[in-house]
């Protein structure tokens, strides 16, 4: 019996030791990650946004997003203020390209991934099995299953379309008021870094520790009057 107990404990200990080794190994691997070369971010100036939806339409066209879903929406709230000084607020609803992305952490196959050289979060639709874990994990609720590919889908800063052709993302190019600015946070001379340094910006749900890279300039009262 004593022998049996010893073996029993030995088996258990071996398993625990193997697990901890495995976890340690993983922790070590993360420290050795190469520095990201670029860190793309987007700034949505809500004081300039007029809610025209040109960005959302351009996104749909450029990335061939089916009608029943969307990578980018402009959410309208309001009207705020007293008549006749009423105005709406427009909020961009799309992927925030989190640096600590919950969607990437939970994906069982690694289909949801952060591109090391650009910091862009995207989905490898071939690897995706459609478990929808990432959709549940994203605190911004912007992921969806693409009805054509059956894979999880979302904004990827036009990584496969415009960026590849050396252009700015479709939404940025389409915006008639210049409310959107796209750029590299690692480049100290970029326009976006200058813009972020020169005025107060906010990010959604920062308290969750996701480090989102979609920055916003808050709309002030009376910007868009009716």
């Amino acid at each position: 019996m004593d022998n049996i107990r010893r073996q029993f404990i030995k088996g258990g200990t071996a398993l625990v030791a193997a697990t901890s080794l495995y976890l340690l190994h993983d922790a070590g691997a993360q420290e050795e990650l190469p520095q990201t070369k670029k860190r793309y971010a987007l700034l949505h100036d809500e004081t300039k946004c007029i809610g025209c939806n040109a960005c959302a339409e351009a996104c749909r066209l450029t990335n061939q997003v089916p009608q029943e879903v969307a990578r980018l929406r402009i959410e309208r709230t309001g009207p705020y203020g007293e008549f006749p000084d009423q105005y709406y607020r427009f909020t961009r609803v799309s992927c925030q390209h989190c640096e600590e992305a919950p969607c990437v952490n939970v994906c069982p196959t690694g289909a949801a991934n952060i591109d090391r050289s650009t910091g862009i979060v995207s989905v490898n639709s071939w690897k995706c099995v459609g478990c929808q874990y990432c959709i549940a994990a994203c605190p911004y609720h912007i992921r969806f299953i693409n009805p054509v590919t059956h894979a999880a889908d979302k904004c990827d800063f036009c990584k496969e379309t415009n960026l590849r052709e050396g252009k700015q993302p479709a939404c940025v190019m389409a915006c008639p008021t210049g409310a959107l600015m796209f750029g590299d946070l690692e480049d100290p001379h970029s326009k976006i870094v200058a813009a972020l340094n020169s005025q107060p910006v906010y990010r959604a749900k920062e308290d969750l520790g996701t480090h989102p890279k979609l920055f916003r300039i808050r709309a002030k009262a009376g910007e868009v009057s009716l």
Partner: protein
């Protein structure tokens, strides 16, 4: 029914059944090991309750996996989960645990049923006895790992949900403990129910043994549920709103107060205490108590899954 729809609902009832079935399997296996080593000792293959557990554990884990696969948007590409691993993903690690667990579970069941296997293979496949002999050489190691894996599987069903930062009620460190405990009690209940259905004696030492564990288990479960909701309320903000939305009036509030607390926990607790005090264990008592317990755990899984996705951070 609006109780089953909400704006940010991603995971539906199949996931609740998956979590339930995985918990039942883990619990049944855990109690099968306990029964064999601490209660029955010799000829475990003749015990109706161990037999029931050995039947329930594989059937439920397979059914659960089946549900998980059919619920994917690309069920035929399930193999990609097995080929590609992501060590930070609870689901990926869980699938790994599930696979090893399933293999070891079958090895352990083969050991319990060894007398039957040996008898049959003597006539048909003599070399099979070499394998059963080898299995019984490694039995203590096998059992040790299996126990740890079954507990991990039970806790994993909770970690799966607690890894979701967008839902304050799910993103809760107590959830894995709650799911582990309720999974264990559903495993105990299903073994009892299966045991009496397989003509096990309702007044046997196995039933007494399980009931003796079930009473403290249910008490701890009640404390953990209390801790779970107190934690949410004391955290305040969206967590408090989530708790209030879940427990308030309405469909899910009724499920919680009446279904989970009364039918799932209080009734089985009272029946267990009654049976222990009077030493009367009839077929109907044991079966009814176990059914209440099982129903309660099934409701708990649905309740947590649906109300958890009701309120967002």
């Amino acid at each position: 029914m609006s109780a089953f729809h909400s704006e940010y609902l991603v995971w539906h009832w199949p996931i609740a059944f998956y979590l339930f079935l995985a918990g039942v399997s883990a619990g049944a296996m855990f109690f099968a090991v306990l029964l064999k080593h601490l209660c029955v000792k010799d000829s475990p293959h003749l015990s109706g309750y161990i037999r029931a557990a050995c039947l329930i554990a594989p059937v439920t884990v397979m059914a659960g996996l089946g549900i998980l696969v059919t619920d994917l948007t690309k069920p035929l590409e399930f193999w990609k989960i097995l080929v590609f691993y992501n060590p930070t993903s609870v689901m990926s690690v869980g699938v790994m645990i599930l696979l090893v667990y399933t293999v070891l579970m079958f090895m352990w069941i083969a050991l319990v049923m060894r007398p039957y296997i040996d008898e049959w293979s003597e006539m048909h496949l003599p070399w099979l006895q070499k394998i059963t002999q080898w299995l019984s050489n490694i039995e203590p190691t096998l059992t040790g790992i299996l126990v740890i894996l079954s507990l991990s599987l039970g806790a994993y069903t909770g970690f799966l949900l607690s890894a979701l930062p967008g839902y304050p009620m799910l993103n809760n460190p107590v959830l894995p403990i709650l799911f582990l405990l309720s999974g264990l009690s559903s495993g105990a209940a299903s073994s009892l129910l299966g045991g009496v259905l397989l003509h096990g004696n309702p007044d046997s030492r196995e039933v007494k043994f399980i009931h003796k564990i079930e009473i403290p288990l249910i008490l701890v479960e009640i404390v953990v549920i209390f801790t779970f909701f107190m934690g949410l309320v004391l955290t305040g903000g969206q967590s408090k709103i989530a708790a209030m939305n879940a427990l308030g009036f309405g469909f899910w509030g009724a499920v919680f107060w009446f279904g989970i607390l009364v039918i799932g926990l209080s009734v089985p607790l009272a029946m267990n205490l009654f049976m222990t005090a009077t030493a009367k264990r009839r077929w109907a008592y044991v079966a009814a108590t176990a059914s209440c317990s099982l129903l309660g755990v099934l409701m708990l899984r649905h309740f947590i899954l649906y109300t958890g996705q009701l309120t967002i951070a």
